[in-house]
Symmetry: C3
Subunit: 496 residues, 3 copies
């Protein structure tokens, strides 16, 4: 059973980490030590993709490659095999799987291993935040179960990702300090509201076949923060105020290493974390599941940083990753997740990231009037705008929501669909040709018969020799050639 193999791997990791000498008695170290192992896998995955194809000869290499691909499929992508194996397990273990997938779904990744690594990153950042995030994911998933939401969606973590963000960000923006246990009360309440709000927004967005993104999180966290505010006895929030004077920006003082670090920090800020190592861990978790997602995440963060410089934002904000996290999400969403990845879509994703950065600044300024952070509103609004786009070109193809998995799988589905379309088209053409030929043949036969009759008539009149007609067997070669050309076209298409 392949799934058990995978779970054994995880168990081994956990055993290994617990048996290892832990100087600080925290689970952080153990998981950051697991990291190199993952990196190794990734380099293999990367190698696999660059590997040149030498057909026929190197059978040993091919076998190794097939074995590697099979291995990768166990913990890359959406870990389908593992998910199927999980279905037969104890409910609490399943719940853990859903929670981990939920944690990763913030980045559109449906992979419990990625979720585990992300939790490791969170623990590295702050224990209290990580705990709140876990509680949020857990209760959001439980609430979805109570409200009898779609089981498949729950199992994919689609009801958990808003929960983890609600839990995390309520802890991040609380002014009461860490380990203020009362915070768990609104945390649990708001997490349990997630499926309600998700379901409500889905009922609206489904009219346009669009996802809910992190809108429930945005709504609920803003709700909690503005309902209590900075001046509150029970749940005070950090003070956020609008800018009221020209920021001091001296271009000579720019700190290039920090600017460079802002790329991973921007990815970390998706979960409200400003630790660059945490951001790095998140990059790793993305790479495991989908290299395309990972690439677009890094690209998005970089675009956000550049936009911040262009719009003359205070350097502190840029270093802190505030310009990056929305662009990261927007770039992932457009770049291969909800559109099939072509180079036009790639450009569109970059445009969307720039637009998102602009929007991010705008929304942050507006929200600060109410003492609110921008949350991921900019991402939601920019991605929804770009997904509403309708164009006349078929190179920008929005996937039906039911077919969305992860960029690589989406691409395969898209290519298959294209191929089928081509085949259908060529078949239709062939049918047309055949029909024409049949008509021609029939005509020939008719002519022949007519000829014969005439000949017979003439023969009856005198002695005449008739010649048989020709031009019947030219059909098949033409047909074959056509089919051959079609196949070539399809192959060329795959390479672009």
């Amino acid at each position: 059973m392949p799934g058990s193999n995978c779970s054994k791997d995880i168990q081994k990791n956990i055993n290994w980490s617990t048996s290892a000498d832990l100087s600080t008695s925290s689970p952080v170290n153990s998981l950051t030590e697991v990291q190199p192992l993952m990196l190794q896998d990734m380099t293999q995955v990367g190698m696999k993709e660059k590997e040149p194809e030498v057909p026929g000869r190197l059978t040993a290499l091919q076998k190794a490659r097939a074995r590697l691909l099979k291995g990768v499929s166990y913990f890359g992508g959406d870990m389908e095999v593992f998910g199927k194996w999980m279905e037969k397990q104890f409910i609490l273990l399943q719940l853990l799987d859903w929670v981990l997938r939920g944690a990763a779904q913030v980045m559109f990744v449906n992979n419990p291993l990625s979720g585990l690594i992300i939790f490791a990153g969170l623990i590295l950042q702050n224990y209290w935040w990580a705990l709140n995030g876990f509680v949020g994911t857990l209760f959001a998933t439980i609430s979805a179960l109570i409200l009898k939401q779609n089981r498949g969606a729950i199992a994919a973590g689609l009801y958990g990702y808003n929960g983890i963000l609600v839990g995390l960000l309520m802890a991040v923006f609380s002014n009461a300090g860490d380990w203020y246990w009362w915070l768990l009360l609104p945390n649990i309440f708001m997490s349990m509201m997630c499926p309600v709000v998700s379901s409500a927004i889905a009922s609206i967005n489904s009219r346009w076949d669009l996802p809910v993104f992190t809108l429930p999180f945005n709504i609920l966290v803003c709700l909690h923060m503005v309902a209590t505010g900075h001046y509150n006895h029970h749940f005070p929030q950090v003070l956020i105020q609008p800018r009221s004077e020209l920021p001091n920006i001296t271009w000579s003082e720019i700190d290039l290493p920090k600017l460079f670090m802002s790329v991973p920090v921007g990815i970390g800020q998706v979960y409200g974390c400003d630790n660059p190592w945490t951001g790095g861990i998140f990059i790793v978790s993305l790479f495991i599941s989908s290299p395309i997602t990972c690439a677009h995440a890094v690209l998005g963060s970089a675009v956000g940083m550049v936009s911040g410089l262009a719009l003359s934002a205070p350097f502190g904000d840029i270093y802190f990753g505030l310009w990056g996290y929305n662009c990261v999400l927007a770039c992932i969403a457009i770049g291969g997740m909800f559109y099939a990845l072509t180079w036009q879509v790639h450009l569109l994703a970059i445009t969307c990231a720039f637009f998102c950065a602009y929007l991010g600044s705008a929304i942050a300024n507006i929200m600060s009037s109410f003492g609110l952070p921008a949350c991921t509103w900019p991402f939601c609004l920019s991605a929804l705008t770009f997904l509403h786009l309708t164009t006349g070109t078929n190179r920008i193809f929005k996937l039906p929501l039911a077919k969305v998995a992860y960029p690589e799988k989406n691409l395969i589905w898209f290519w298959k669909m294209k191929k089928e379309e081509k085949i259908k088209k060529s078949e239709a053409e062939r049918d047309e040709q055949e029909k024409q030929q049949k008509a021609m043949e029939e005509e020939l036969i008719l002519n022949e018969k007519e000829q014969l009759r005439l000949d017979l008539e003439r023969a009856e009149e005198g002695n005449v020799q008739h010649n048989a007609s020709e031009g019947k067997n030219e059909v098949t070669p033409v047909e074959e050639q056509r089919t051959h050309e079609d196949n070539e076209e399809v192959r060329q298409n795959d390479q672009t």
Copy 2:
């Protein structure tokens, strides 16, 4: 004619009230004196519901009960009989009926008697406000007539309830003092805009089969208030400012009687009234039409009060009912009005009330930045969110908008529908069974024939006796038993 009976009752009341010795020359006293009469009716209604069923024997009691039920139906519920009788009356009298129904529709009550009592409560609170409310309802209804809106909706007061709120709240939030007659101008303009905005929102919300709630009122009153603002020569508004320091909350100073009073005050605040007696009168008016609505209103107000304490709101706001009124409306809307009442829906209504209280605090804080009150935005948004909810359970059943009447009637419709579904299902099952049996019988007959033929063949060969086949009449008892079971199931369902 039963309707005329009812109208005579009202006439009697009016005659009685005008002939009574009115020391203060105001209609307030007369109507508050009517109150005990209503209370008596209500206790009867309440008794009726608790009354144990003793079938067959106590025919006198049954007759009394039937007579009582018939009497209740004349002025309880939506006063259908009275409404039908009204259709044949003079247009101005009809208009009065529509205005009164409009006044009550704020609380989802389609009952002119409740509307009359509500106006009494308003007069008790403030003459000027009551006048503005009346003008608002009247002109909103007239405008709907001019714009040729649906006559049935107008007759149900569905175009008036936004008008009464617009009129009332514009008077409540005006800083120009009472009896500033110029205020009637924007009042009339905004009231007449109500049907336009209602129609526009209905055209959007109808896509999801959702009502417009008080959205037109919210939009139009906020429009007027923010368009003029506090610093205006013609129509100044009261000054509302965001909180900018920690409120002084000492738990030892809590005033329990005031806290208890905040429940009726919260119900009164639906119409912008802070007088607990007015709130009490409103409770009475709700009870007349629908006890379920009344119960949920009180529950909602209590939930709002508790939420206020939990979120550490200033006690003054809680006493003033600001935490209650949105929860009242949200709890009524979810608890039996737009969902068929089951205990799951009851829990959902309470959850919605808590969510609404949270949202109320959030919206109040945001709106105060613009010098605006929260109006009933929190109720609209939370109720719409909870009505957008889609679940897998059939215990949370959203009624089609066309079937919404009042909780009791909705419940009867829901049970009827369930019964019909059950019957259809059992019929389908019976049909299936019958088909199977027919098939079996046919097979038997065929076998019989075959047997006969064989016997004949054998008889032809020699002397053989044949036996007729059996097993044909066992069908009907089984069928009867099944139908019996189904009926029992339906009955059990009704009792839950």
Copy 3:
């Protein structure tokens, strides 16, 4: 070829203007001098409309009129002939046509000549603003081409009008002064975002068959302004702050000429221009394409001015046209553009203008909290509200979006549709009648046959004479009369 004729006219104008003695070396004068020519045309158009019909006799006058109408059709309305001729021209020339149409589409006018005059007005106001407006329109149109939007919509300027507003208003609200060339960067970016946002909003609004209006412009300009804000090093915006004290309004100090001038200034403010001459030029450009549009524009601006006085706005704001421009657009949109013009719709347009003025004040106050101007949000929201309106009367008829052209053409389409409906109805009635008559005739024939048979029977028995039946030819006169009446009715309808 009629189109070439038209283009020659334009060329003549341009040649004439360039050959004219230009003291200030700017194209402004040349184009304002063209104005009288246009005015002449307009008076002719006006005359044409008032001209009494004298049928049959004055053939010379009729011919002149037909020639005039043909001449007007070349540069009035949407210049269809010119547009068709353009399709065969060089792409850059086409692009210019689209840009000019885009400039005029802000006012719902699809006419390159109007666009040219509008650009003249802009140049009269400010060179730098005009340049930004041109760049905005150009890049918005190019972006639409890149994104393969509908070619017909691009050719009608429907992707340019948001671009010109984005370009203009970004220049108007920039605090960096004129000729700050860096501004072209965000200008180009935002203009190129226009088709994306347009497409996204269209995908939502098309569900209700509604246009996008200037929503993309509103979104994108607010985005840019609030993203950068007043305190920005690269792209500072003008400082806009909410009112915080009672404005000083002394009614005796009112300046009546300025108040009167606020009507054209209000029209100019649609493009952010405060020069009354520019406003006057815009009025001319509207008149060329559609006198109904022009009349509603002036009416809207006047309504805005009156509303400003009613709501006690500071006189400075009213003089500056801030109360007018939204009402201008709202009044045009409702008054004949998206509804077929009847007098009920005319009243609705005026109501909408009042509502829009109210909304304008409200939105301006809210937006000022974020340092933003009101843009044309009030127009968009009020027009969308009034277009969502559904009424029972057929005198308020919303045109299908695909049939919207300009008020005059819309009216013709509406009348034609009504006529066709009438004809269909009368035909249906006639068919019904004919059927009845046929049935009657058949009955008669049957009776006749029966009679004959009876007669025959009787004849067989003895000698009887039979009489032929009557009442067969009364049908056609009745029918003719009916048709005649129908035609009269249609004619009467046309006159109202």
